[in-house]
């Protein structure tokens, strides 16, 4: 082990008990550390770290009321106050890693369990600083963006079979993946797995498959990982991305839901859950998740004022569906919305307009049409379509629709398609309101799902074809072609099994939905009539 220059180390000790701070300070002095700062709460830690680079931060998990050591660690990394060379040790009275499941998200370099002794501190610091010291050439190469020599050094370290080779392997795998060296990453993880089935290596291998576009293989492995160790959170994150890459946002939501059940305190996963639920037209789940985001956001660097609006949006969406959420949640969302609207002096004009549109929707859903109408006008006067942004205009469209202004909404949609003709991401946001997607990405998804569904239909696998079209119609509820494909698959199914009442009912409902939205000049109109006749014939024979 390299000799650690303790007299040069800059150490920060943070705990809300002065007793503990002075005990640790005395231990550090025994080790020869002279440069020690103290902090008693999260604000002091952040303030000190913003001014000074520490080599070691010894931080207690409990810091009194407010943020805990885990929050502080996240924020230090988020704000860039803690470089890769610094060591962060989380101290607690609890056994090791078990204290916080969300520690997977931003893991400290090590944990120390109270009571601490000088010898324990000496052992741990010695090991951690020796590792950082060994990795110094890698950090230097990465500082220069010289990935090739960083990799070379890590390869040497990995092969050395000494105390630092596991850490080097992990870092090397990540670097390979980040630099697109997928084959090399795969080799590395496979070599590790030959010796022992370690979760991090299994995940790395699945990630490499995922990044190479082999979503089926990646999905299979990832499912196996969470099945074997259902507390291993990072695997859920990759699995959710993998489902999305396959275009299955409902499966992605299910996966994120499972990870949130394991770790309800992770604000980023709650946010992801809310956004997937919104996308999947599941406002009840979105509301519950956003409620937690708002709550967790008070202490987290990942919270923001946007969360309050998103919370209210999910309330509006749920009310518009005619659902009655628990009154406590409604009041919570409503009062958070009102207080956001009252303290709006700092907001940009678009943000103020968003709030007004959301308020308009909530009021309309509560039957207060007059107030809602006034709020709409107020919002429209606040910012013009040209000066606005896509988030605000999506709120605008929803506000128009909730008041039944269909014509105005479709005029606005046309204008927005012109304004955002070069902005694919913005167009994707509009797709759910349109008969046919406007964005290339969503056109491709519909085309792919259609191809898959039609192939299944051709093989007589009607139920699987239906599931396929169903998934797509969740994303594009107004897509007439998809709806008709569903009818056609149901007709196929009914021809094989005429007595299927459920299929008969679905068939009738789908046709009614199409009938409500289709015009005679639509290219699909003839097909619609044909299918309607076929369905009627089946219905009569049944």
């Amino acid at each position: 082990m390299a000799t650690i220059p303790y007299h040069k180390l800059r150490v920060l000790v943070a705990d809300d008990f002065s007793n503990f701070r002075s005990t640790v300070n005395r231990m550090l002095l025994d080790l020869g550390v002279v440069n020690v700062d103290m902090a008693s709460n999260s604000e002091e830690i952040l303030e000190l770290c913003s001014r000074k680079r520490f080599d070691v931060v010894l931080c207690d998990y409990n810091l009194g009321a407010g943020r805990n050591g885990q929050h502080v660690l996240e924020e230090l990394r988020y704000r860039g106050f803690l470089g890769p060379r610094s060591v962060f040790i989380l101290v607690s009275a609890e056994a090791g890693r078990n204290i916080v499941m969300s520690a997977y998200d931003s893991a400290p370099d090590d944990y120390l369990m109270k009571p601490i002794t000088t010898r324990m501190l000496y052992n741990r610091l010695g090991r951690l600083l020796a590792l950082k010291h060994a990795l110094e050439p890698v950090y230097q190469a990465l500082d220069r963006h010289d990935h090739a020599s960083a990799m070379d050094t890590l390869i040497d370290m990995s092969l050395a079979e000494d105390r630092h080779s596991t850490a080097a392997q992990k870092m090397l795998g990540e670097l390979f993946l980040q630099q697109g060296e997928y084959a090399k990453a795969e080799n590395l993880y496979k070599r590790v797995l030959e010796v022992r089935e370690l979760d991090w290596a299994r995940l790395g291998l699945a990630k490499a498959k995922h990044l190479q576009g082999d979503f089926d293989q990646a999905g299979q492995w990832l499912n196996k990982i969470v099945e074997d160790n259902y507390l291993y959170l990072p695997a859920y994150d990759v699995l959710a991305d993998n489902c999305l890459a396959k275009g299955d946002s409902r499966a992605a939501q299910e996966v994120v839901q499972r990870s949130v059940d394991v770790s309800p305190m992770s604000i980023l996963r709650q946010k992801n859950l809310a956004s997937l639920a919104t996308r999947n037209h599941d406002p009840a789940t979105a509301l519950e998740a956003m409620r937690k985001v708002v709550k967790l956001g008070r202490l987290s660097c990942y919270g923001g004022e946007e969360d309050g609006r998103e919370f209210a949006r999910s309330l509006a969406a749920l009310l518009e569906e005619g659902e009655v959420p628990p009154i406590a949640i409604v009041n919570e969302a409503f009062s958070s919305l009102e207080s956001l609207a009252e303290n709006n002096t700092e907001l940009l004009p678009e943000q103020r307009a968003q709030l007004l549109y959301i308020q308009c929707r909530v009021r309309a859903a509560r039957g207060e049409r007059d107030v809602a109408g006034e709020l709409l006008v107020q919002a429209e006067l606040g910012v013009t379509v040209e000066d606005s942004d896509i988030d605000t205009e999506v709120d605008h469209i929803r506000a128009l629709l909730c008041l039944g202004y269909e014509q105005k909404a479709s005029e606005l949609l046309e204008r927005l398609q012109e304004l955002y003709a070069d902005d694919q991401e913005a167009l994707e946001r509009l797709d759910e309101f349109l008969d046919e997607p406007a964005s290339e990405a969503n056109k491709a998804i519909v085309a792919e799902v259609n191809r898959e569904g039609i192939e299944l239909y051709g093989q007589g696998r009607f139920s699987e074809a239906l599931a396929c079209f169903d998934r797509a119609v969740q994303l594009f509820p107004k897509h007439i072609g998809l709806r008709l494909n569903i009818v056609q698959a149901l007709v196929g199914k009914l021809k094989a099994q005429p007595e299927d009442d459920e299929a008969l009912r679905l068939c009738r409902e789908s046709l009614e939905t199409v009938a409500a939205g289709i015009e005679e000049d639509n290219a699909q109109y003839k097909r619609f009539l044909q299918l309607k006749n076929m369905a009627r014939a089946l219905h009569e024979s049944a």
């Binding site: 090791g96 009571p115 000496y122």
Partner: protein, 234 residues
Amino acid sequence: MNKADNTSKNGIDFSTVLASSVHDMKNSIGMLLSSVETILDEMKPETPEQERHFHTLHYEASRINGELIQLLTLYRMENGFLPLHIDEHFPLDVIEDQVARNQLLIDTSNIDVTVDCSPDLAWYFDTDLVGGVIHNVLVNGIRYTRQRIHIAVREEQKHLVVSIADDGDGFPDDMLVDPANRVFEASLSEGATHLGLFFASEIARLHKQGEDRGRIALMNGGALGGGEFRLILP
């Protein structure tokens, strides 16, 4: 252990109530323990009598602390909330940490602890859980040994064998057979529940390689002539 339905007629899950009070107790004991250590550090005992009292205070507090941690870990294990982080670690690190953690206890008990473990020997295990097992065995050994405790680690037929031996009177004969399951038979009147052995065995079993699982063993007449505990991991 089967997951039983512990919900009482009042709708309270008693094991959860217990677990949360254990959690509270453990935090209190943790504070108590660190106060005791500060006192021991700042006020050296003046008479042998005082030294003996301090020692008892410290020893009993560490024992309660260890038992409470065991209980919580078992609770989490049974309810599927015990995260397992198996990775490559160095057994010597874990042992040094546990000896350091109990240094005060070792010093005040006048016991000589020796360690025989290669610094280069690496193995695959969860360092927190295995650390907890070694801590418990060590604290227990300090109570029953006369003068010495010897910790030896070696690789034997593709297994890691951690043995902790003392020069005490050894284990009662009836404990040597199937020690892990003694927890169910031991009555309170015997004065010991052997929960620690059950805990150690469960932690060992969480470590698998293929079909092979970790286990524990007890024997008498070990390296120092007294009792010897062994943790064997694949």
